[in-house]
Symmetry: C2
Subunit: 144 residues, 2 copies
Amino acid sequence: MERLDDIFFYTLEKSIKTYRQFAQRAILKQGFELTIDQWLVLKAIMDNPEWNQQEIAEAAFKDFASVTRIIELLVKKEFLNRVIHPADRRRFLLTPTPKAVQHLKSMQPVTERNRKTALRDLNQDEIARVQQFLTIIIKNCNNI
Amino acid sequence: MERLDDIFFYTLEKSIKTYRQFAQRAILKQGFELTIDQWLVLKAIMDNPEWNQQEIAEAAFKDFASVTRIIELLVKKEFLNRVIHPADRRRFLLTPTPKAVQHLKSMQPVTERNRKTALRDLNQDEIARVQQFLTIIIKNCNNI
DNA sequence: GTTTTTTAATTGATATATCAATTATATTTG
DNA sequence: CAAATATAATTGATATATCAATTAAAAAAC
């Protein structure tokens, strides 16, 4: 009988979930009020201010509905300003608030420490190789 | 400025999410009525009939509340029978129905094909190495 | 220039994740 | 054994995931 522990994708899922729990707890413990998903969407918007929500969704590998709801929360929490796009009234212009910029910046050390802790004992080359490997899985699952 | 694509954990999350979407769609398209999470919980129960819900939760890396709700759905869908445990009235005795056994068995080819497709072009040694690598991450995140 | 089609975003319904609080039962302790 | 503590599971609240349906505006087609 096949054992869960032997299934590659089981380990894959377990690793990202374990990391997420670990990282989210560290973030909350430091007093920051963003979830990892909110951080990800906010970061995608800051890096690409001209993108629409669909492009943001793709970058954050979320679906449109989730992005809509996450943005709503970010607006409510005053991390984002949302106004109708001057060139296309179906869209919104999303602008991170100064609070958001400052929040992200001061989260940076925590984020970096989380990653470092999770990757302890693993060297850069190996990390890069695994990342390459994961990219192939992503391609394989998309080209169907 | 750090780019999302360069962040290892971003790629990690993207890979498992892409795989999940791909696999879940294939499962639904074949007419099976289980989500991947329900499959996982059901599989854990079948492999370890004596476990309580907390042990199941751990094996499926879910929290107790999620497991309670997933089991509820599995009972409603007639994949599980749930009776009070004779030795401890706080617990339940969970038994997969014949329907569940048959369902899992006939899902097996789809599951195997999904994994194979996602891992195309990747050899066994490499897969095993990456799995080892991921196990280290899991340890690192738990030993804090 | 009006109709048709596409596109951007939202909403509703259901499933899952997480934390905190609660309930019911078992176990321990004094 | 009665009180205190621990354990198993559920429930409530909020966040996220997914699919389908809907709305509003833009673009294309005629």
